[in-house]
């Protein structure tokens, strides 16, 4: 108990003395862990969205030009049914009017989206399912290259191609995020180690005297290790507050307002993420002080 009181008071005195440096170190710890938290939450939201969307992956939509004649349409339909990878019982025709009706149904809570439409902008379309979701790309290719009256086909879309594109974009984001987090974590470790070096330098005389009267190496080191770890802990606390604010004021609003994207955060996520952030702060602080002690305190 006596020792704990001693270490705590030494740590606090030292932190107070180089307050500006300590604040900078804490800020960088907070930024790196905060970004980590946001990347993890963002990634979780996105992968939940993908999971919800994956049911539709075998689906291909073919949008027809309004100029398509009845004969052309029949020929296209015959072609679609004849594609060996396509399930012939799941080729359905949807008229512009049906499409508009469906749209109104889906956004009946937001009538401002369709109330003022006087000319239907939605095209006639075919919706088909492949027998096996993995053939989606093949089927899209065949339709684009082999279908009759291809100038009447305005667009061929598969859910998976859209998802793949999104996945690629988000993967980039995640990679940049992770690289950023690692780079910032390294900067944070270095900054913590600078504050510890300054603290060691400020107390070099005292350290010499401690050695002289027989203090053990760990007795000398502990206050510095604690100083590094408390900087890491305070940084992670700030990061958690920021992440929480982002969740409540941004992510929850997105989830609520963009319901059609079916965004969500996994229920147990924060209970795992936040302790991990605290641990990250402790590790950054401990590494920073270990680095400083290893280089500048020969005992």
């Amino acid at each position: 108990m006596n020792k704990i009181a001693y270490f705590a008071s030494e740590t606090w005195a030292s932190l107070r003395k180089n307050l500006i440096l300590a604040v900078a170190a804490i800020a960088v710890v907070a930024v790196s862990l905060g970004i980590l938290g946001m990347v993890v939450m963002g990634w979780n939201m996105f992968s939940n969205m993908i999971k919800n969307a994956e049911r539709k992956v075998g689906e291909v939509d073919i949008y027809l030009s309004d100029l398509t004649t009845e004969e052309e349409r029949a020929a296209i339909e015959a072609f679609l049914v004849s594609i060996p990878e396509v399930d012939p019982t799941k080729v359905t025709y949807k008229t512009k009017d049906q499409a508009l009706q469906e749209f109104k149904e889906r956004f009946k809570d937001q009538p401002e989206l369709w109330e003022y439409i006087d000319e239907n902008p939605l095209p006639n379309s075919y919706e088909l399912m492949t027998k096996d979701p993995k053939d989606v790309g093949l089927v899209v290719g065949r339709i684009s290259n082999e279908a009759p009256f291809r100038d009447r086909i305005e667009d061929v879309k598969s859910a998976s191609s859209a998802i793949e594109k999104l996945e690629n974009i988000f993967d980039k984001f995640r990679q940049i995020g992770i690289v950023g987090v690692i780079a910032l974590a390294i900067v944070a470790v270095l900054l913590v180690s600078v504050t510890i070096q300054v603290a060691i330098f400020a107390r070099r005389r005292e350290i010499g005297i401690m050695k002289l009267v027989g203090a053990t190496n760990w007795f000398i080191r502990w206050p510095f290790v604690l100083e590094g770890i408390s900087e890491g802990l305070v940084g992670s606390a700030v990061a958690i507050l920021v992440a929480l604010a982002v969740k409540v004021w941004i992510l929850d609003k997105l989830i609520e307002n963009l319901q059609f994207l079916r965004l969500s955060l996994s229920p147990g996520l924060l209970a795992v993420l936040f302790p991990c952030m605290v641990l990250g702060g402790v590790v950054i602080g401990a590494l920073g002080s270990a680095y400083a002690l290893g280089r500048f305190l020969e005992v």
Partner: protein, 227 residues
């Protein structure tokens, strides 16, 4: 208590600070280590607290060969040896009481024990009334007494003093050495390095004289012997 066997210390640049030193200092002895500047007195003391390592030879303290001592055991060696230096080595932002209590704190003794023993030892060195003063409010002689109290607080079997009177007014120097003598009479082995001829001649203790890193004289109840 202290045995040195053929101890040689060569610093970088081929400086022979100590050469082929062999001697015994028994438990309870009081020895002056004398010699001109650069003769190796401070090096002698640094070897005993493992602040420096001998280039060759063996040093035993209480039958432990300290050359073979594991690094982590060095602090425990230092707890057995109190040290006093010419420049006092007090912490300027701690009071007299705190400076002495510090040596107990560092070795894990309880605060209660410090509250009992620190004032006692400070009274012993004649500073019972200055517990709350800071080092820069004290004279050199008083500061050195604080340093001696700190060196003695854990009752070490050995006390080393490197020119303890060097920064003390000559009229107060004798008082400092009297203090060391009293500590010695209580059973602590004391080794004091000094230039001070008057002191050495007054106290008539064992005198170990160094010159160019060699022992040129080792005499009981000796005198300084240089003119």
């Amino acid at each position: 208590m202290i045995r040195m066997r053929r101890v040689t210390k060569i610093y970088k640049g081929n400086v022979y600070a100590l050469e082929d030193i062999t001697l015994d200092i028994e438990k309870g002895e009081f020895a002056f280590l004398v010699g001109p500047s650069g003769s190796g007195k401070s090096t002698f003391i640094k070897l005993l607290i493992k602040e420096e390592e001998p280039t060759s030879g063996q040093i035993y303290i209480a039958d432990t060969n300290i050359s073979q001592l594991r690094k982590w055991k060095v602090p425990y060696l230092r707890r057995k040896i109190g040290c006093v230096f010419q420049d006092f080595k007090l912490l300027p932002h701690k009071t007299v009481y705190q400076n002495v209590a510090y040596a107990m704190e560092v070795t894990g003794k309880s605060r209660r024990l410090a509250e009992q023993q620190v004032p006692e030892v400070l009274k012993l060195v004649g500073l019972g009334h200055k517990l709350d003063a800071f080092p820069d409010e004290l004279s050199g002689g008083e500061q050195q007494r604080v340093a001696i109290a700190r060196a003695f607080i854990n009752r070490p079997p050995i006390l080393l003093a490197d020119e303890p009177t060097g920064n003390v007014d000559p009229s107060l120097a004798e008082g400092i050495v009297r203090l060391l003598e009293r500590i010695n009479e209580a059973g602590t082995t004391v080794i004091m390095a000094t230039h001070d001829k008057a002191i050495v001649n007054t106290f008539r203790k064992r005198v170990i004289a160094l010159e160019n890193g060699r022992i040129i004289r080792d005499q009981d109840r000796g005198v300084y012997g240089y003119e």
